[in-house]
Structures are given as C-alpha cells and as structure tokens.
Symmetry: C2
Subunit: 206 residues, 2 copies
C-alpha cells in the first residue's frame, strides 16, 4: 500500500494522477497549508523539506516529483507509464520532468514564494510582475520544442503528461496567454478526459 501526502493545487497532483493511472493500491492524506501543517513536527518527520508531495512506501518515504513518478512507473510496469527498458527513451522522459521541476515549477514559485530567495517586498513585487513573462517563456519552449503531441512524448502517454498537466493548470492564474499555447491547451483537454485524472481531481476536491 502506498500513501501520498498532498495539498490541493500543488504539484502533488502529478503523482496522484500517476498512482491512479498505474492502478496502484494507494491512500491519500491532505496537508493543510492554511494552518502551516507542512511545518508541523509530525509532517517534518515525514518530509524535512516541509513540502508536498511525499510518498510512503513499504521501504521508506520518497520525495521529489521526478523521482516519485519514475518510481511509480518502474513499480507498475504493466501500466507502461515510461519506457523503462530503453535507457535513452527513459532519459528523454526524465529530461522533460527535470525541466518541469527545476525550471517551470521554479519560475511559477516566484509568484508566491519569493521569500525563498529574497527578503524585500519590492523584490517580491518585481518577481510577481515578471511571472507572465518568465513562466510564459518556459511554456513557449514546451509548446515549440517539447510537446510532440498528442502526448508529451508523442503517441505514447507517459509520466511526463500528468506532470505537464499539473503545471499547465497554473498558467491562467499566472496570467500567461493560453492563446499562444494551442498544443498545451489541447493537451489539457485531452488529459481532462482521462478517468485517472478525473479520479485524482475528485479525490483532492472531496
């Protein structure tokens, strides 16, 4: 049995969808950011980084979305969520997920988490003003060079898809013009039709 710690509206959705896609036996536990539960002693014992997601396995606890997504794909090979038998193809998948984690998510994080890297209100305001441009630039590259269509890696659905879907869900709130991103917009619609996506979203809402 796997247990996913998540908070609604966070990147934990990518792992949540992937657990559902894998047909995994899992439970979820919500961490309430409004009461700063991610910094409670109980949660810090699970994830000292005070972030979600965390995945409790029978071997121990995993953190970091790219690692968790690859772990789920490797643990449920029948679901064929990553080309785990082909080192190069798997690296291409991992390259996308690494970019989503370290560049796309990080760009977005400057909207509300500027205190991680600066201290002045004027800096936070500056970062916020740049969000449509900085996040928009990362998605312009995705639109142009990464999203092959219909899925990220082409004809085959992989662990890149729920991760992209999770982060592209923040675009509207970030003030990025979706009209410039037709492939990303189309990918969002295609993802929304998948039962695993509907299941994960319903679980996070409930």
């Amino acid at each position: 049995m796997l247990k996913l710690y998540y908070a609604p509206g966070t990147c934990a959705l990518a792992s949540h969808i992937t657990l559902a896609e894998a047909g995994a036996d899992y439970t979820t536990e919500r961490i309430d950011f409004k009461i700063n539960q991610q910094n409670s002693p109980e949660y810090l014992a699970i994830n000292p980084k005070a972030r979600v997601p965390s995945l409790v396995t029978d071997r121990g606890i995993l953190t970091e979305t790219p690692a968790m997504l690859a772990f789920i794909a490797q643990s449920f090979p029948k679901a064929k969520l990553a080309p785990i038998e082909d080192a190069y193809a798997f690296a291409q998948v991992q390259s996308i997920n690494s970019y989503l984690c370290s560049t796309v998510h990080v760009a977005h994080a400057h909207k509300g988490r500027g205190y991680r890297w600066a201290t002045e209100e004027s800096s936070f305001a500056d970062m916020k003003r740049m969000i449509p441009k900085s996040v928009g630039a990362t998605f312009a590259l995705i639109e142009r060079d990464m999203l092959r269509g219909p899925w990220v890696m082409g004809e085959t659905y992989t662990i890149c898809d729920p991760y992209l879907f999770t982060l592209s869900g923040w675009l509207e709130g970030d003030g990025v013009d979706m009209a410039a991103l037709p492939k990303v917009a189309d990918h969002r619609k295609r993802m929304a039709d998948r039962p695993a996506v509907q299941k994960a979203l319903a679980e996070e809402k409930g």
Copy 2:
C-alpha cells in the same frame, strides 16, 4: 561515442565526472559563456535552452543533469553508478539529484542569474545578499539528513556524489560557512582523491 558540451565552473562537471567514472568513450566541447556562445545559433540547435550540459548520443541529444546522470549509469551498468535494478533505491538516488537540481542549484543561481525571475537591480542585490542563507539552508539539510557518508547514499558511490561535489564547489564563493558542514567538507576531500574527478577537472582546465 558520447560528446559532452560543458562550460567550466558549471553543473556540467557532474556529468563529466560521471562519464569518466563510467569508463565511457567520450569527447568534450567547451562552450564559452564569456562570448555568449550558449546563445549562438549553432548551440541553440543543440540545446534550445541555451544551457550546459548537453550530451550528444548516437540516438540524439540529452539535456538536464539528473536525466543525463541516470542515462550514463544505465548505459554503463558495469560501473555500478546507480542501483538501477532496485526501483526504490534508484528513486532515492533520483530524489537526491532532483533536490540538487531544483532546489540547491536554483538557490545558487539567484546570485548571478536573478534576471531569470526579476528585472530590478534592487531585486538582484536583495537576492545576492540572501545567498549565504538560502544556499546555506539547502546544504544544512544535506549535512543533516541526506549525506549518509562516506558517500551520499552510504557505503556505495553513486551518481549523487559527483553532483553534490559539483554544487558544493560553489559554497565558498557563495559565502557559506564550511565549518558548519563537516560532512560536506569531508565528502569534497574524498571526491578530490578519485582519479575520475581529477581527470574531469584536468580536462576542463586544459
């Protein structure tokens, strides 16, 4: 034959060391940041993100350090650079590398690349002032919770080690007090003794 595009002093060193550790047949090509070569049309055709490293393989080009490190480990299994047969242990390795990429490297990047997320000189100065604290906090967590010793994952050297070594090489310049990081300092010394590390550093100097 593999070809690594790198620039001295960048995170490309992690992949460079790993190629040497793997006993791979590889060549290197230096990208000169001083003349903005990473934004030349020739290099943008290799890596549209205008970053290093890039790894040219006989199947195509890979980018993003965590993906490249796992690819090298999987392509040279005899070198035993990652527990690729054990999904959980492999995920632990990937979790460390994802943290190094998306949190540690990103914290450091705010010293000189603030223009990625802000526009005002005052914001850049604010970010720079926070570097010892922001980078220091990421390494405090590594010191306390991640670096098992003697290697990152314990008794076995993995692809986490050259990546940590590469980023810990920036600590002094970032004004982080190494006296508070005895395990990280010890890891640096242990890494410096490895022939593959000496080979990669000599090649980047030459």
